[in-house]
Amino acid sequence: MLKKYISIMRGVALAALLMCGASLAAQTTASGVINGTLINKNGISIQFDSDPAGVTLGAAGTSAATANFGTVSAFGPLAAGVTRPSVTAANFTVRTIFDVQVIQGGLNSTTYTLTANLAAAAPTGMSYKVDAITLTTALQTIQVNGAYSTAIPHNLDLVILTAAPGAGGPAVNTPITTTINFTATAN
Protein backbone atom coordinates (compact mmCIF):
# COMPACT_ATOMS: atom_id res chain seq x y z
CA MET A 1 0.00 0.00 0.00
CA LEU A 2 2.73 2.34 0.96
CA LYS A 3 4.66 1.40 -2.14
CA LYS A 4 1.63 2.14 -4.22
CA TYR A 5 1.20 5.53 -2.57
CA ILE A 6 4.82 6.40 -3.12
CA SER A 7 4.53 5.34 -6.74
CA ILE A 8 1.48 7.52 -7.22
CA MET A 9 3.19 10.50 -5.64
CA ARG A 10 6.21 10.01 -7.86
CA GLY A 11 3.95 9.97 -10.87
CA VAL A 12 2.24 13.15 -9.77
CA ALA A 13 5.57 14.88 -9.14
CA LEU A 14 6.90 13.83 -12.51
CA ALA A 15 3.78 15.09 -14.24
CA ALA A 16 4.11 18.42 -12.46
CA LEU A 17 7.72 18.74 -13.53
CA LEU A 18 6.83 17.95 -17.10
CA MET A 19 4.07 20.56 -17.08
CA CYS A 20 6.43 23.17 -15.68
CA GLY A 21 9.01 22.36 -18.28
CA ALA A 22 6.48 22.65 -21.05
CA SER A 23 5.37 26.00 -19.67
CA LEU A 24 8.93 27.34 -19.51
CA ALA A 25 9.74 26.22 -23.01
CA ALA A 26 6.75 28.19 -24.36
CA GLN A 27 8.24 31.66 -23.28
CA THR A 28 9.83 32.94 -26.55
CA THR A 29 11.90 36.12 -26.27
CA ALA A 30 13.51 38.67 -28.58
CA SER A 31 15.94 41.46 -27.93
CA GLY A 32 17.44 44.38 -29.83
CA VAL A 33 19.53 47.46 -29.41
CA ILE A 34 19.46 50.93 -30.88
CA ASN A 35 22.78 52.42 -31.78
CA GLY A 36 21.98 56.14 -31.41
CA THR A 37 24.21 58.66 -33.11
CA LEU A 38 24.14 62.45 -32.91
CA ILE A 39 26.62 64.76 -34.50
CA ASN A 40 26.54 67.92 -32.45
CA LYS A 41 27.83 70.72 -34.66
CA ASN A 42 28.95 74.08 -33.46
CA GLY A 43 27.76 77.28 -34.99
CA ILE A 44 26.26 80.73 -34.49
CA SER A 45 23.18 82.45 -35.79
CA ILE A 46 22.12 86.07 -36.04
CA GLN A 47 18.66 87.54 -35.86
CA PHE A 48 17.14 91.01 -35.80
CA ASP A 49 14.61 91.91 -33.12
CA SER A 50 12.36 94.93 -32.74
CA ASP A 51 13.53 97.27 -30.01
CA PRO A 52 10.84 98.78 -27.76
CA ALA A 53 12.14 102.23 -28.65
CA GLY A 54 12.36 101.63 -32.38
CA VAL A 55 10.16 100.79 -35.31
CA THR A 56 8.55 97.39 -35.41
CA LEU A 57 10.64 95.28 -37.73
CA GLY A 58 9.14 93.21 -40.46
CA ALA A 59 10.08 89.55 -40.08
CA ALA A 60 11.48 90.29 -36.64
CA GLY A 61 13.28 87.37 -35.09
CA THR A 62 14.82 86.31 -38.37
CA SER A 63 18.04 87.04 -40.16
CA ALA A 64 16.25 88.86 -42.98
CA ALA A 65 14.27 91.67 -41.40
CA THR A 66 12.95 94.97 -42.67
CA ALA A 67 12.79 98.40 -41.05
CA ASN A 68 10.34 100.89 -42.48
CA PHE A 69 11.00 104.50 -41.49
CA GLY A 70 7.89 105.66 -43.31
CA THR A 71 7.91 109.22 -44.59
CA VAL A 72 10.75 111.28 -43.21
CA SER A 73 11.48 114.98 -43.49
CA ALA A 74 13.62 117.60 -41.82
CA PHE A 75 10.73 119.34 -40.13
CA GLY A 76 7.59 117.27 -40.50
CA PRO A 77 6.11 114.54 -38.32
CA LEU A 78 7.78 111.15 -38.10
CA ALA A 79 6.49 107.64 -37.70
CA ALA A 80 6.39 105.97 -34.31
CA GLY A 81 9.78 104.65 -33.32
CA VAL A 82 11.61 107.16 -35.49
CA THR A 83 13.37 110.15 -33.97
CA ARG A 84 15.23 113.10 -35.48
CA PRO A 85 18.30 113.68 -33.32
CA SER A 86 19.73 116.47 -35.45
CA VAL A 87 18.81 119.00 -38.09
CA THR A 88 21.39 121.27 -39.63
CA ALA A 89 21.37 123.46 -42.69
CA ALA A 90 23.18 120.73 -44.62
CA ASN A 91 21.47 117.58 -43.44
CA PHE A 92 19.17 115.95 -40.96
CA THR A 93 19.29 112.60 -39.25
CA VAL A 94 16.46 110.23 -38.56
CA ARG A 95 17.04 107.35 -36.22
CA THR A 96 15.51 104.12 -35.13
CA ILE A 97 16.78 101.44 -32.81
CA PHE A 98 16.90 97.76 -33.60
CA ASP A 99 18.25 94.79 -31.71
CA VAL A 100 20.73 92.19 -32.86
CA GLN A 101 20.80 88.84 -31.14
CA VAL A 102 23.50 86.28 -31.84
CA ILE A 103 23.22 82.75 -30.50
CA GLN A 104 26.04 80.24 -30.40
CA GLY A 105 26.27 76.55 -29.66
CA GLY A 106 29.19 74.22 -29.26
CA LEU A 107 31.80 76.93 -29.22
CA ASN A 108 34.19 78.08 -26.56
CA SER A 109 33.63 81.61 -27.79
CA THR A 110 32.13 84.00 -25.27
CA THR A 111 31.68 87.03 -27.50
CA TYR A 112 31.32 87.89 -31.14
CA THR A 113 32.34 90.64 -33.50
CA LEU A 114 29.63 92.36 -35.50
CA THR A 115 30.39 93.87 -38.87
CA ALA A 116 28.15 95.50 -41.41
CA ASN A 117 28.23 96.85 -44.91
CA LEU A 118 25.84 98.25 -47.45
CA ALA A 119 24.72 95.77 -50.05
CA ALA A 120 25.02 98.51 -52.66
CA ALA A 121 26.25 102.07 -52.78
CA ALA A 122 24.09 104.48 -50.80
CA PRO A 123 21.43 106.36 -52.78
CA THR A 124 22.13 109.96 -53.67
CA GLY A 125 21.93 112.30 -50.74
CA MET A 126 21.82 109.50 -48.20
CA SER A 127 24.25 107.93 -45.82
CA TYR A 128 23.70 105.22 -43.28
CA LYS A 129 25.20 104.80 -39.86
CA VAL A 130 25.03 102.02 -37.31
CA ASP A 131 26.11 103.19 -33.89
CA ALA A 132 27.66 106.30 -35.48
CA ILE A 133 29.77 104.25 -37.88
CA THR A 134 29.17 105.30 -41.44
CA LEU A 135 28.53 102.29 -43.62
CA THR A 136 30.01 101.67 -47.03
CA THR A 137 29.99 98.67 -49.27
CA ALA A 138 33.12 97.50 -47.41
CA LEU A 139 32.80 95.75 -44.07
CA GLN A 140 32.88 98.02 -41.04
CA THR A 141 33.25 96.75 -37.51
CA ILE A 142 30.27 97.72 -35.40
CA GLN A 143 30.99 95.84 -32.19
CA VAL A 144 33.91 93.71 -31.08
CA ASN A 145 32.60 92.07 -27.93
CA GLY A 146 28.93 91.32 -28.42
CA ALA A 147 27.44 89.04 -25.81
CA TYR A 148 25.60 85.98 -27.05
CA SER A 149 21.91 85.34 -26.49
CA THR A 150 21.29 88.98 -25.66
CA ALA A 151 19.24 91.42 -27.70
CA ILE A 152 21.73 94.23 -28.12
CA PRO A 153 20.25 97.55 -29.28
CA HIS A 154 21.93 99.45 -32.07
CA ASN A 155 21.18 102.90 -33.43
CA LEU A 156 20.42 103.02 -37.11
CA ASP A 157 20.85 106.55 -38.44
CA LEU A 158 19.85 107.80 -41.85
CA VAL A 159 21.67 111.02 -42.63
CA ILE A 160 19.80 112.87 -45.35
CA LEU A 161 21.05 115.91 -47.18
CA THR A 162 18.64 118.84 -47.17
CA ALA A 163 19.53 119.83 -50.71
CA ALA A 164 16.80 119.67 -53.30
CA PRO A 165 16.50 116.69 -55.63
CA GLY A 166 18.92 117.16 -58.50
CA ALA A 167 21.11 119.40 -56.39
CA GLY A 168 22.67 116.67 -54.31
CA GLY A 169 19.65 115.83 -52.24
CA PRO A 170 17.74 112.58 -52.35
CA ALA A 171 14.71 111.87 -54.46
CA VAL A 172 11.53 112.95 -52.72
CA ASN A 173 8.19 111.19 -52.42
CA THR A 174 9.81 108.02 -53.72
CA PRO A 175 10.45 104.90 -51.67
CA ILE A 176 14.15 104.43 -51.10
CA THR A 177 15.28 100.96 -50.14
CA THR A 178 18.68 99.96 -48.89
CA THR A 179 19.94 96.65 -47.59
CA ILE A 180 22.56 96.36 -44.88
CA ASN A 181 24.45 93.11 -44.49
CA PHE A 182 25.45 92.13 -40.99
CA THR A 183 27.94 89.44 -40.10
CA ALA A 184 28.59 88.06 -36.65
CA THR A 185 31.92 86.30 -36.19
CA ALA A 186 32.72 84.27 -33.10
CA ASN A 187 35.70 85.61 -31.19
Binding site: F48, S63, A65, T66, G125, P175, T183
Partner: protein, 196 residues
Protein backbone atom coordinates in the same frame (compact mmCIF):
# COMPACT_ATOMS: atom_id res chain seq x y z
CA UNK B 1 49.62 68.10 -53.73
CA UNK B 2 51.85 67.78 -50.73
CA UNK B 3 51.50 64.00 -50.77
CA UNK B 4 52.35 63.49 -54.42
CA UNK B 5 55.42 65.68 -54.08
CA UNK B 6 56.64 63.79 -51.04
CA UNK B 7 55.98 60.43 -52.60
CA UNK B 8 58.02 61.26 -55.63
CA UNK B 9 60.93 62.25 -53.43
CA UNK B 10 60.75 59.55 -50.83
CA UNK B 11 59.17 56.15 -51.23
CA UNK B 12 59.42 55.14 -47.58
CA UNK B 13 55.87 54.14 -46.64
CA UNK B 14 56.47 54.76 -42.94
CA UNK B 15 57.19 58.39 -43.71
CA UNK B 16 54.18 58.53 -45.90
CA UNK B 17 51.96 57.35 -43.06
CA UNK B 18 53.38 59.97 -40.80
CA UNK B 19 52.78 62.64 -43.40
CA UNK B 20 49.25 61.37 -43.88
CA UNK B 21 48.62 61.55 -40.16
CA UNK B 22 50.08 65.04 -39.95
CA UNK B 23 48.04 66.15 -42.92
CA UNK B 24 44.90 64.84 -41.32
CA UNK B 25 45.76 66.58 -38.10
CA UNK B 26 46.40 69.84 -39.88
CA UNK B 27 43.12 69.50 -41.72
CA UNK B 28 41.26 68.94 -38.47
CA UNK B 29 43.02 71.90 -36.86
CA UNK B 30 42.21 74.08 -39.83
CA UNK B 31 38.57 73.05 -39.64
CA UNK B 32 38.49 73.77 -35.96
CA UNK B 33 40.23 77.14 -36.30
CA UNK B 34 37.90 78.45 -39.03
CA UNK B 35 35.91 81.36 -37.56
CA UNK B 36 32.24 80.67 -37.12
CA UNK B 37 30.14 83.33 -38.78
CA UNK B 38 26.50 84.07 -39.36
CA UNK B 39 25.06 86.68 -41.66
CA UNK B 40 21.81 88.56 -41.85
CA UNK B 41 20.24 91.34 -43.88
CA UNK B 42 18.30 94.33 -42.64
CA UNK B 43 16.43 96.10 -45.41
CA UNK B 44 15.51 99.71 -44.81
CA UNK B 45 12.69 101.51 -46.53
CA UNK B 46 11.79 105.17 -46.29
CA UNK B 47 10.51 108.07 -48.35
CA UNK B 48 11.89 111.58 -48.11
CA UNK B 49 9.43 114.44 -48.16
CA UNK B 50 10.05 118.14 -48.74
CA UNK B 51 9.45 120.27 -45.69
CA UNK B 52 9.78 123.80 -44.40
CA UNK B 53 9.88 125.19 -40.92
CA UNK B 54 9.18 128.57 -39.37
CA UNK B 55 10.68 130.00 -36.21
CA UNK B 56 10.58 133.35 -34.51
CA UNK B 57 13.82 134.94 -33.39
CA UNK B 58 14.86 137.97 -31.46
CA UNK B 59 16.03 140.73 -33.73
CA UNK B 60 19.70 141.60 -33.34
CA UNK B 61 18.52 144.92 -31.89
CA UNK B 62 16.57 143.17 -29.14
CA UNK B 63 16.39 145.19 -25.94
CA UNK B 64 16.49 148.52 -27.66
CA UNK B 65 13.40 150.61 -28.29
CA UNK B 66 11.05 148.80 -30.60
CA UNK B 67 12.63 145.37 -30.14
CA UNK B 68 11.28 143.51 -27.13
CA UNK B 69 12.63 140.04 -26.34
CA UNK B 70 10.57 137.00 -27.24
CA UNK B 71 10.01 134.21 -24.81
CA UNK B 72 11.03 130.86 -26.30
CA UNK B 73 12.88 132.63 -29.08
CA UNK B 74 14.06 130.22 -31.75
CA UNK B 75 10.87 128.21 -31.74
CA UNK B 76 7.58 128.43 -33.57
CA UNK B 77 5.64 129.23 -30.42
CA UNK B 78 6.81 132.40 -28.71
CA UNK B 79 5.49 135.10 -26.45
CA UNK B 80 5.76 138.86 -26.81
CA UNK B 81 4.90 140.99 -23.82
CA UNK B 82 4.20 144.60 -24.70
CA UNK B 83 3.68 145.64 -21.09
CA UNK B 84 1.12 148.15 -19.88
CA UNK B 85 0.23 151.25 -21.83
CA UNK B 86 -2.26 154.09 -21.70
CA UNK B 87 -3.17 157.03 -23.86
CA UNK B 88 -2.72 159.81 -21.32
CA UNK B 89 0.81 160.90 -20.86
CA UNK B 90 2.14 158.38 -23.39
CA UNK B 91 2.23 156.01 -20.48
CA UNK B 92 3.95 152.66 -21.04
CA UNK B 93 5.81 150.39 -18.68
CA UNK B 94 7.90 148.49 -21.15
CA UNK B 95 11.26 149.97 -21.94
CA UNK B 96 11.58 148.04 -25.17
CA UNK B 97 8.33 148.87 -26.92
CA UNK B 98 7.94 151.75 -29.29
CA UNK B 99 5.10 153.97 -28.11
CA UNK B 100 3.57 156.67 -30.26
CA UNK B 101 0.44 158.75 -30.46
CA UNK B 102 -0.92 158.23 -33.91
CA UNK B 103 -3.63 160.84 -33.67
CA UNK B 104 -5.18 162.97 -31.01
CA UNK B 105 -7.23 159.95 -29.97
CA UNK B 106 -5.13 156.86 -30.78
CA UNK B 107 -1.87 155.42 -29.55
CA UNK B 108 0.24 152.57 -30.84
CA UNK B 109 2.56 150.16 -29.12
CA UNK B 110 4.84 148.11 -31.29
CA UNK B 111 7.78 145.75 -31.20
CA UNK B 112 9.72 144.00 -33.93
CA UNK B 113 11.06 140.47 -34.20
CA UNK B 114 12.38 138.21 -36.92
CA UNK B 115 10.75 135.35 -38.79
CA UNK B 116 13.01 132.71 -40.29
CA UNK B 117 11.78 130.00 -42.63
CA UNK B 118 14.02 127.12 -43.68
CA UNK B 119 13.44 124.48 -46.28
CA UNK B 120 14.74 120.97 -46.84
CA UNK B 121 14.66 118.72 -49.89
CA UNK B 122 12.76 121.33 -51.82
CA UNK B 123 13.44 123.24 -55.00
CA UNK B 124 11.08 126.02 -53.92
CA UNK B 125 12.83 129.36 -54.55
CA UNK B 126 11.01 131.31 -51.86
CA UNK B 127 7.89 131.37 -49.73
CA UNK B 128 4.91 133.55 -49.04
CA UNK B 129 4.05 134.65 -45.55
CA UNK B 130 0.61 135.30 -44.10
CA UNK B 131 -0.90 135.80 -40.66
CA UNK B 132 -4.19 135.98 -38.83
CA UNK B 133 -5.36 136.73 -35.32
CA UNK B 134 -7.21 134.25 -33.16
CA UNK B 135 -10.11 136.33 -31.83
CA UNK B 136 -11.80 139.50 -32.94
CA UNK B 137 -10.27 142.39 -30.98
CA UNK B 138 -12.45 144.81 -29.03
CA UNK B 139 -13.85 147.76 -30.90
CA UNK B 140 -11.26 150.42 -31.67
CA UNK B 141 -8.38 148.02 -31.16
CA UNK B 142 -6.40 146.95 -34.20
CA UNK B 143 -3.59 144.43 -34.50
CA UNK B 144 -1.22 144.88 -37.40
CA UNK B 145 1.99 143.48 -38.78
CA UNK B 146 4.09 145.94 -40.76
CA UNK B 147 1.02 148.13 -41.10
CA UNK B 148 -1.10 145.29 -42.50
CA UNK B 149 -4.28 144.85 -40.46
CA UNK B 150 -4.90 141.35 -39.22
CA UNK B 151 -8.32 139.77 -39.00
CA UNK B 152 -9.92 136.54 -37.95
CA UNK B 153 -11.53 136.13 -41.35
CA UNK B 154 -8.51 134.37 -42.79
CA UNK B 155 -4.84 134.65 -43.41
CA UNK B 156 -3.72 138.02 -44.63
CA UNK B 157 -0.74 137.94 -46.92
CA UNK B 158 2.25 139.79 -45.53
CA UNK B 159 4.87 138.94 -48.15
CA UNK B 160 4.62 137.21 -51.50
CA UNK B 161 8.20 136.02 -51.89
CA UNK B 162 10.50 135.90 -48.88
CA UNK B 163 13.85 134.20 -49.04
CA UNK B 164 14.51 131.05 -47.08
CA UNK B 165 16.99 131.02 -44.23
CA UNK B 166 16.87 134.79 -44.06
CA UNK B 167 15.52 136.68 -41.05
CA UNK B 168 12.50 138.71 -42.06
CA UNK B 169 11.82 141.48 -39.59
CA UNK B 170 8.18 141.97 -38.71
CA UNK B 171 6.78 144.65 -36.46
CA UNK B 172 3.74 143.83 -34.40
CA UNK B 173 1.58 146.88 -33.77
CA UNK B 174 -1.37 147.34 -31.48
CA UNK B 175 -3.40 150.49 -32.09
CA UNK B 176 -5.80 151.55 -29.37
CA UNK B 177 -8.30 154.40 -29.32
CA UNK B 178 -8.55 156.39 -26.15
CA UNK B 179 -12.15 155.30 -25.74
CA UNK B 180 -11.24 151.67 -25.16
CA UNK B 181 -11.92 150.54 -21.63
CA UNK B 182 -9.11 149.28 -19.48
CA UNK B 183 -8.56 145.60 -20.12
CA UNK B 184 -5.96 143.08 -21.13
CA UNK B 185 -5.59 142.81 -24.87
CA UNK B 186 -4.50 139.38 -25.86
CA UNK B 187 -4.15 137.76 -29.25
CA UNK B 188 -2.57 134.67 -30.64
CA UNK B 189 -1.21 135.48 -34.05
CA UNK B 190 -0.72 132.56 -36.38
CA UNK B 191 1.88 132.88 -39.11
CA UNK B 192 1.71 130.70 -42.18
CA UNK B 193 4.63 130.21 -44.54
CA UNK B 194 3.85 128.51 -47.82
CA UNK B 195 6.50 127.36 -50.28
CA UNK B 196 6.23 128.94 -53.68
Amino acid sequence: MLFSLTMSCNFKFGGMKALLAMGGLLFMMASSAAAQTSSGQLTITMSVQSSITLVFQNNPSVGTTGFCPLTNSGTNNVGLDLGIAAFPGSFHTSTCVSYTHLTAADYQVSSAFDVVVNKANSSSPNYRLAAQISTPPPANVTWLLNNVTLTTAGFTTLDAADNYATPITKTLQVQVKNTVAAQTLLETITFLATAN
